[in-house]
C-alpha cells in the first residue's frame, strides 16, 4: 500500500492558504443534501459537529456519554497554546511550528504542524467570541503564561480548568446547532462498527446503551473524534470510559493505525496507593517550577520511609539526592516530561522510592517556601524574621500560586503538602499515536476522517504541554470544515445512503454476533480484572523503558491474556438492557488487540525518540534517536498473527534535525 500524505505543493507557510484558495467547494444547496456522521463530542468532535452544522451539512453526532459535555477534554488543566504574540516576546507562527516539531522529536509532518500553528490564533478568537472566560489582566486583555520547555509566553488559560471552559464553549456551539435541527444528537449511543460500501465509509452501527438496541446509521462520510487509547494501560489519567473501540473497529475495516507506541507518560501524578486503584490524577506540571524532586541517597533510608518509620523532613540535606538537578544541571527540575518520568523510574527501580509500594519520589516545596518567605519578609521590611514567620509568609505565596493543586492533593492523599513533601510518580497521560491520516485528516479508507487525539498527525513522538487542546480545536473548527470538502465535492451526485443495504445488514449482524459471543462465554473472571492485568503487562513491558526481550514477552503475555479472556470472562445481565459491564467488555476486548499492536510497533522502532525509550538505543544513559533508520511513520494494518507495517517516510525541508540535550 502506497501512503500518500497529500501534502499540497508550495512553500511551507503558503501551503494551507493556497490549498483553501484552490480546493473544490461544495455549494450551499448541495451541503443540504449531504449527511455527515461525527463520533465523539470532545473538543474535536463537538467543534467539528457544530461547525459542519453551521455550514449546512446534515450532521448526526454520537457520544457514549449521557451528554456531550462529559467528554474527557473537560479534564485538561493547564492551557492552550496560540501564536498570538500578545506578549511581544518574539513568538510567531513559525516559532510555534518549530517548537512543536522539535518537541515531537522530529517524528511529525511539517505541513500538518505548520497548519496547526496557523490555526492556533483563530481558536482563541473563536473561544473568546463564544464567551470562554479566559484569564485576563487588569486592563481587560487576555493573560498568558509560559509552559513546559518553550521560551515564550503563549499559553492562554482559564485557571486550572482550561479544558472544561473550552469544551463548554464547543458544547454550547453544538447545543445551538442541535436546537436548530442542523445536528441530530445521539447521547448514550456507542459506535460498535464501521460500515463501508464500495470501499468508502458510509455509516456506523451503534448500540443504544439504555436499551441495548443496535441501529444502522448511514451518511456520506464518517468523522471520528474519539480520543486516545491511554486506558490500554488500565491506570492512566484518562477517564474510566475512554476507549479505542471506534478507532479499532475502523482498523478492523482496513484503516491503518499509526505509531501506537508513542505514549506520553506524565511525571507529576499522584502515586498508586493500592490494588483497588481505578485511575490516576495528574498534578499540573507547573509545580515543577518551584518543587524540587528528590529521593533518599541510601536504600536503608528509603525503606524506613516506605515502612512509615521516617518522613521526608527527618532526612538532612546531605542524605538527599536531588537527582534531576544532579543529572541535568542545565534544566534541573524543568527537564521535559519524558526525561523527568524516566528518571523517577530509575530512582524507584534502584529501591529508593518513598511510598509504600516503592513507586514514588518526592516533590518538595520546603525550599520554595523558605525562599519566598525570606523575600516576602524583606519586601515587607521585617528585620530578622523568625523561622515561623518566614514559613508563614512563604506558605502564603505558595498557596497563591498553587493553592488549588495543593488542595486537590490533600483531598486525594489526606496529607498536607505545605507541611510534608508531596509524593509523585509518572502516569500514562496522552497517546500521540492514532489512526493514520493524510493532510486532509482522511484515513486510508475514503470518507473516513479522524480528528484530535484519535489521529496521529501533529505531535510526533512527544506532545508539548498545552498543545492537545490546540490540536483538537484546530482540527474541528478550522481544518475539517475545509478538508471534508475534498471528499464530499465528488459526492454531490450521490443520493442519500440507504441503511438497509447488505453491507449495513451484515455489519449489524457482525456486531450482534460479537456481543452474543462475549455474553456466551459465561466464565468466572470480571472484565475489570482482565483490564487490570492487561494494564500491568503494558506498564511492565511497554511502559517508560522498553527493550526487545521485554516487548516480545509482553506481546506473548497479551496474546495469552486475550485467549483467556475469550474463555473465562464473565459478563452479568443481557445484551438488550442497560449493561455497563457489557460495554466495558467490548472495549477491553479491543484493548487486548491494540495492546499487542502497541508491543509490535515498539519492537519495530529500535530507536529512542520522545515518549518511546528503547534501552538498546542510548548514549551516556540518555535517549538516542536514529534518524537514518527511523525517520518514518509506522502505519499498521492489523492481522491477528502478523500485523503489516506500511511506512510513510518523513521529509524535513524546513527544519534541521537535532539531538535534544538538557544537560
Amino acid at each position: 500500500m502506497k501512503l500518500d500524505a497529500k501534502i499540497p505543493e508550495g512553500e511551507l507557510a503558503e501551503k494551507w492558504t493556497k490549498y483553501r484558495g484552490s480546493m473544490n467547494l461544495v455549494a450551499p444547496n448541495n451541503k443540504r443534501r449531504l449527511d455527515v456522521i461525527v463520533v465523539g463530542t470532545g473538543l474535536a468532535g463537538a467543534s467539528a459537529a457544530a461547525t459542519l452544522g453551521e455550514l449546512g451539512y446534515n450532521v448526526k453526532c454520537f457520544t457514549f456519554h449521557d451528554s456531550p459535555r462529559r467528554a474527557h477534554s473537560i479534564a485538561a488543566q493547564g492551557g492552550i497554546n496560540a501564536a498570538k504574540n500578545y506578549q511581544n516576546d518574539g513568538d510567531s507562527i513559525y516559532r510555534l511550528f518549530y517548537d512543536t516539531i522539535k518537541g515531537g522529536d522530529y517524528r511529525s509532518r511539517e505541513a500538518n504542524v505548520h497548519r496547526l500553528a496557523e490555526c492556533s490564533t483563530e481558536i482563541i478568537d473563536q473561544a473568546v467570541a463564544q464567551g470562554v472566560p479566559f484569564a485576563r489582566e487588569y486592563g481587560g486583555l487576555l493573560a498568558n503564561r509560559s509552559f513546559g520547555g518553550v521560551q515564550v509566553s503563549r499559553t492562554f488559560y482559564a485557571r486550572g480548568q482550561t479544558g472544561q471552559q473550552l469544551l463548554l464553549g464547543a458544547y454550547s456551539a453544538l447545543s445551538r446547532q442541535i436546537a436548530k435541527g442542523q445536528v441530530k444528537m445521539y447521547n448514550r449511543h456507542e459506535m460498535l462498527d464501521l460500515v463501508k460500501i464500495d470501499g468508502k465509509a458510509r455509516g456506523i452501527i451503534t448500540r443504544n446503551l439504555l436499551t441495548g438496541k443496535l441501529d444502522r446509521h448511514a451518511a456520506h462520510c464518517v468523522v471520528l473524534a474519539t480520543g486516545g487509547y491511554g486506558n490500554v494501560f488500565y491506570l492512566s489519567t484518562n477517564a474510566m470510559g475512554s476507549n479505542v473501540s471506534a478507532a479499532w473497529r475502523s482498523v478492523k475495516e482496513g484503516a491503518l493505525f499509526a505509531n501506537p507506541c508513542y505514549t506520553q507518560i506524565h511525571p507529576t501524578c499522584i502515586p498508586v496507593s493500592g490494588e483497588y486503584q481505578s485511575k490516576l490524577t495528574l498534578m499540573s506540571e507547573s509545580l515543577r517550577n518551584d518543587g524540587r524532586v528528590w529521593v533518599p541517597k541510601t536504600i536503608e533510608d528509603a525503606q524506613a520511609i516506605q515502612r512509615g518509620e521516617k518522613r521526608a523532613e527527618d532526612l538532612p540535606e546531605e542524605d538527599r539526592d536531588y537527582y534531576l538537578e544532579r543529572r541535568y544541571p542545565a534544566f534541573g527540575n524543568l527537564v521535559p516530561r519524558d526525561v523527568a518520568s524516566r528518571a523517577a523510574k530509575v530512582a524507584s527501580d534502584e529501591g529508593k522510592g518513598v511510598v509504600k509500594t516503592g513507586l514514588g519520589v518526592y516533590l518538595d516545596f520546603a525550599d520554595a517556601i523558605q525562599r519566598y518567605g525570606k523575600s516576602e519578609a524583606f519586601s515587607l521590611g521585617i528585620a530578622n524574621p523568625s523561622a515561623e514567620k518566614i514559613k508563614e509568609l512563604g506558605e502564603a505565596i505558595v498557596k497563591a500560586k498553587y493553592g488549588n493543586l495543593f488542595q486537590m492533593y490533600e483531598k486525594i492523599t489526606g496529607e498536607n503538602p505545605y507541611k510534608t513533601a508531596m509524593k509523585i510518580y509518572p502516569a500514562v497521560h496522552y497517546t500521540m499515536g492514532g489512526l493514520w491520516v493524510d493532510y486532509n485528516l482522511q484515513t486510508n479508507v475514503p470518507g473516513l476522517f479522524a480528528l484530535g487525539e484519535a489521529n496521529f498527525s501533529d505531535h510526533g513522538a512527544n506532545r508539548l504541554g498545552a498543545s492537545a487542546l490546540m490540536q483538537g480545536l484546530a482540527d474541528g473548527y478550522f481544518v475539517i470544515p475545509y478538508t471534508i470538502g475534498t471528499f464530499l465535492a465528488d459526492e454531490i451526485r450521490t443520493s442519500k445512503i440507504a441503511n438497509d443495504t447488505p453491507e449495513f445488514l451484515e455489519a449489524e449482524q457482525r456486531v450482534q454476533n460479537r456481543l452474543d459471543q462475549l455474553m456466551a462465554i459465561k466464565g468466572n473472571q470480571s472484565v475489570e480484572s482482565f483490564h487490570r492485568r492487561l494494564g500491568k503487562i503494558m506498564w511492565e513491558y511497554c511502559g517508560m523503558s522498553r527493550n526487545a526481550e521485554g516487548l516480545k514477552k509482553g506481546r506473548q503475555l497479551i496474546r495469552e491474556l486475550r485467549k483467556e479472556f475469550y474463555e473465562d470472562v464473565y459478563i452479568p445481565g443481557t445484551t438488550d438492557e442497560f449493561n455497563p459491564e457489557l460495554e466495558k467488555a467490548a472495549r477491553v476486548a479491543d484493548f487486548l488487540e491494540l495492546g499487542e499492536l502497541f508491543a509490535v510497533d515498539a519492537l519495530d522502532r529500535g530507536e529512542s525518540c520522545g515518549g518511546h525509550f528503547r534501552e538498546e538505543s542510548t548514549e551516556n544513559g540518555e535517549a538516542k534517536r536514529n534518524d537514518e533508520d527511523y525517520t518514518y511513520v509506522s502505519a499498521w494494518e492489523w492481522d491477528d498473527n502478523n500485523p503489516i507495517l506500511h511506512k510513510e517516510e518523513l521529509t524535513f525541508e524546513n527544519v534541521e534535525l537535532k539531538t535534544r540535550s538538557y544537560k
Binding site: D66, P133, Y138, I178, F578, P580
Partner: protein, 248 residues
C-alpha cells in the same frame, strides 16, 4: 474498615426500587467510587447484578457521578464530588446510605444512575452565544473587566452534575440555569441575546419538569463547585427585566 452499605436498587424506570444491605471491606485511601468498585467486584464474583452508577473522569470535573450519600448529594464534604470523596472520611462500622439523585426531571435509569438530559434541553434553549466559526474578531478586541471575567468564570465552573436539583426540596434547576445565564451575561459578548436567552432558558427549565425556587439555599451548600445563590438572585432580576422590557 468494615462498612455496611444500604444501597437503592431499582431494575429500571418502570419498576419499584428498594434498599438492600451489603457488607464491604474498604481501605482509607480508596475513593468512594473505588469502594463501590470493590462491592461490584464481589457481586460479579457471586454472579449477582452489580450496582449501576454513573462515573467517568473520577477527578471531579466531568459531572457524571451523581449519588446521594447519607442524605447529601455527593456526600457531606464541602466542594467535593462523590468521586473525590475518600474513605478516610468514614470509620469502620459505619452504615452508609446511597441513593440516586431524586428529582421529577431526573428519572431513574437503574439503581443510582439517572437521566439528566433535561439539562441539555435547557442549554439548547439559549445557553450559548450565537457566533458561527470564523466570525470572531481578534480576542483582544473585546476587553473584559477583570472582575467581570472572574465572576463569569465562577459561574462557568458548573459541571452540570445536578446536585443542586437533588439537594432542592422542590427539585428546582435554578442554580444550574442561573449559573449559565450569569456566566454569559457578565461578558460583553453575551449582551446581544440576553433577554431572549433568559426567557427561553427559564421557559424550557419549567417545561422539563423542574420545581420552583423558594430560596432554600440547599443547592449552594451541596454544589461541588460551590456556585453561589447570587446567581439565582441575578436571574430573578434578569427575568423580570426581560419579561417587562426585553425584546423577543
Amino acid at each position: 474498615m468494615n462498612l455496611t452499605l444500604k444501597i437503592w436498587r431499582q431494575k429500571n424506570n418502570g419498576s419499584n426500587g428498594h434498599f438492600e444491605n451489603y457488607q464491604v471491606e474498604a481501605e482509607e485511601h480508596m475513593s468512594f467510587l473505588e469502594m463501590l468498585d470493590v462491592l461490584n467486584q464481589q457481586l460479579i464474583e457471586k454472579k449477582q447484578d452489580p450496582v449501576a452508577f454513573e462515573h467517568d473522569c473520577r477527578e471531579g470535573i466531568c459531572g457524571a457521578c451523581s449519588m446521594v450519600i447519607n442524605g447529601r448529594p455527593h456526600g457531606s464534604q464541602t466542594g467535593t464530588t462523590a468521586c473525590q470523596l475518600h474513605m478516610r472520611a468514614f470509620k469502620t462500622g459505619d452504615t452508609i446510605t446511597i441513593e440516586p439523585f431524586r428529582a421529577n426531571a431526573f428519572p431513574v435509569i437503574k439503581d443510582l444512575a439517572v437521566d439528566r438530559s433535561s439539562f441539555d434541553a435547557i442549554m439548547q434553549a439559549g445557553g450559548y452565544i450565537s457566533v458561527n466559526t470564523g466570525q470572531a474578531v481578534d480576542g483582544n478586541a473585546i476587553p473584559v473587566e477583570k472582575a467581570d471575567a472572574d465572576e463569569a468564570f465562577d459561574s462557568a465552573t458548573c459541571i452540570g452534575c445536578g446536585a443542586c436539583v437533588a439537594a432542592c426540596p422542590n427539585g428546582s434547576a435554578m442554580l444550574f440555569t442561573s449559573a449559565k445565564i450569569n456566566h454569559l451575561s457578565k461578558l460583553p459578548q453575551g449582551q446581544v441575546e440576553h433577554s431572549r436567552r433568559v426567557k427561553n432558558m427559564v421557559r424550557v427549565m419549567d417545561k422539563e419538569g423542574f420545581g420552583k425556587c423558594s430560596n432554600v439555599g440547599a443547592c449552594e451548600v451541596d454544589c461541588p463547585k460551590e456556585i453561589s445563590t447570587d446567581n439565582i438572585a441575578a436571574l430573578n432580576r434578569y427575568y423580570l427585566g426581560s419579561v417587562l422590557f426585553g425584546q423577543d
